[in-house]
Subunit: 414 residues, 2 copies
């Protein structure tokens, strides 16, 4: 590699492309709706593929609709991959996923304009249905890509209206022929907005992501007895709402007591019959537990379940629990995380090492190659929200860091 | 009054009339739906009025649709009134209200058949819209009857479809001409199912009702901040669901600590956006507090409000509270309650003095004349439920007690 100055991302162009993609599926008043495999998703894909072709990338679509843009290196070896997704939730913002894809596009464009060809090929990846807002599971495209889910299962997933992934992929013209399940990738980098408040509150520019925390979702159903709130003495009650409330309060206490990176949230709760003067017969609610430490997460699950069982028994309420989701924590490649950190330092960015609180395609790629992520701050910590925002200078800084990490990776001699 | 044996209620006839009225608005599989001023209510009223006329009662309908059947006494003085209601909730049972009306009808019939004419006239009352399930407030008919609510306000009340009480009363032919607001009643007796589990659990036959507990309904709204459950550290949360749960748990603790007749129920709770992985932005929930002691009830309200404010502040959540209903406790006439108790003793019934947990027309009548109530056991404490049930022997026993109390009242010399 020639010892020229490092190529510099053009911020205005990056912002313009984010705005342009944000027009597709735009919601009145702001934000965007490009649910996976919808008409808006098709238009977004068409737009992104057109940008790849303008750059002369070789475009490939695989059997689950993942899109790859290949840029050759000096050597014909496994590529360094950059990627993310462009599908959104129903009321999403302009940055979640899209930022990682468009910054990667800008990295390739900037290197080409500077006449820089890295030793290793670069691949730009757009993974299908990361959000899981229409078809479950989320991170579907990257999961199938790495062989974590059989293709036919993913293609058979149905949305609320009964449409399958297979039918919708065909309809929008993105069921490709490239194989899935055993990718050949040198390493994977994903740039993403934090989607949380930590960097902003700490006044830092870059998050060096060490891994993705483990997730445990449980749905509890408490079955009590419906009775008149005015005629049933306190000691004769079997109040499902009370036990639900006790578990919610306990979940918070548990997270505070365990400390560290333990999170606990009761976000959904439904009472029946849900009337002011009737003791609840049934309470259905969810507990979302997360931890970067798998053993601690398992402990939190066990403690919460034991508490819920005790509380239900004390009230004479019947408890059932159903696992909705369970992912072990993912630890990113130590050397790659160190490389991100050293490049952040070299670029003069204030930064911190942190876990990702949300799931990302990078955690799937981590199954098959060294992977890591870069976070930039989210204003107010907002995401999955039409008011999702990241400042222009942060967007530019993240993209420049991505460029430098990728360049170092693709030119490394080891 | 001649010293003959006390006339005896015919149980089979009482049961048959309960079944007959229960056919009107019957639900498939059991139970009944005779919402106030509906077609089914009209048919129920027609049936009841026909029974009154068969007995030769002088039937009168007032301006809010209350129906009265008058039976003359030896003297032309203010009548002893027995009554209740025949409207039901949407999925009601056969006994709530109907039992009091039909037992009163049976009392009149039994006295007539025995050739007994009491000194004072007897009036059988069927009050409009006691349930409040379609038009609010509940106990509307008796409230207007005693002058507690202006007639025009009650007539202007609208159901969920926008229909007024006035229009519906006219439609079903029950807007009468008898005046409301200043009734002339000697005393009022209401026989009712307990609608709670106390008598059954205590193994007792009769509840001698001393009054109706005070009711305080408050709707709390907690406004927090919606955020990602995976990316928002525990100490940066403004979780509306947590504060709602804390208040629900505290309400139970408060009732237990206060003891006595303090009741506390959180029966309705709605979270927004109500998703497993999103911290709740908003929680709207109700607290139902009841106590037979007005001062204690006010204390419970104040304590709960203070706790809710502290909990909201600690979590950085904004609290607003709205009173949905507030009734002071009603204490029934001591001499009349004593009379009920002494007649229960005379009849050899096991009994206890108790408050009513639910509201009843008797609490409105208590504003204008000595009033009291008699309770019989509810199987399983169930009411406002198609499975509402009271055993035949309990129904008969309650009606016989009503007869004896009314006879004693109507023949008293004082």
């Amino acid at each position: 590699m020639s010892q020229t100055a490092t190529p510099q991302i053009k911020g205005a162009r990056l912002l313009a492309s984010l705005q342009a993609l944000g027009q597709i599926g735009a919601l009145p008043g702001g934000g965007v709706n490009r649910l996976a495999f919808s008409d808006a998703d098709r238009l977004g894909r068409d737009w992104a593929v057109a940008r790849m072709r303008e750059l002369g990338l070789r475009v490939e679509v695989d059997a689950i609709g993942n899109i790859f843009g290949h840029s050759p290196g000096v050597q014909d070896v496994a590529p360094v991959m950059m990627g993310s997704h462009i599908d959104t939730v129903r009321t999403g913002g302009l940055y979640d996923g899209n930022y990682g894809v468009l910054a990667a596009l800008e990295v390739v464009r900037t290197l080409r304009e500077a006449g820089v060809t890295p030793q290793r090929p670069l691949t730009l990846a757009i993974f299908s249905n990361e959000e899981g807002a229409r078809f479950q599971p989320d991170m579907m495209g990257s999961l199938v890509y790495v062989g974590g889910m059989p293709l036919h299962e993913a293609l058979a997933a149905r949305d609320a209206e009964g449409l399958t992934v297979a039918a919708e992929l065909q309809r929008i013209g993105y069921q490709g022929t490239a194989p899935v399940g055993a990718p050949r990738v040198d390493s994977y980098l994903e740039l993403h907005i934090e989607q949380g408040p930590v960097l902003e509150r700490q006044g830092l520019q870059i998050g060096v992501v060490e891994g993705v925390q483990g997730i445990s979702w449980t749905e509890f159903t408490m079955q009590g007895q419906s009775n008149h709130a005015g005629t049933t003495p306190m000691d004769m009650r079997h109040d499902a709402a009370l036990v639900a409330a006790q578990v919610a309060v306990h979940a918070r206490e548990l997270a505070q007591r365990m400390g560290g990176r333990q999170l606990a949230t009761v976000g959904a709760l439904q009472l029946s019959p849900n009337l002011v003067n009737v003791i609840a017969q049934k309470a259905v609610f969810t507990v979302d537990l997360r931890n970067t430490d798998g053993a601690a997460l398992a402990l939190a699950e066990a403690e919460l379940m034991a508490y819920a069982a005790r509380a239900a028994e004390a009230e004479g309420v019947q408890l059932t629990a159903r696992a909705l989701a369970r992912f072990e924590p993912v630890v990113f490649d130590a050397a790659l995380v160190d490389l991100v950190q050293s490049q952040a330092q070299a670029l003069g960015c204030t930064h911190m090492r942190m876990p990702s609180g949300a799931g990302h395609d990078a955690q799937m790629l981590a199954r098959v190659c060294p992977s890591a992520m870069i976070f930039v701050p989210s204003v107010g910590g907002l995401s999955h929200n039409v008011r999702e925002h990241t400042e222009a200078e942060d967007l530019l800084r993240g993209a420049q860091l991505l460029l430098q990490v990728v360049l170092a990776l693709a030119n490394r001699t080891s």
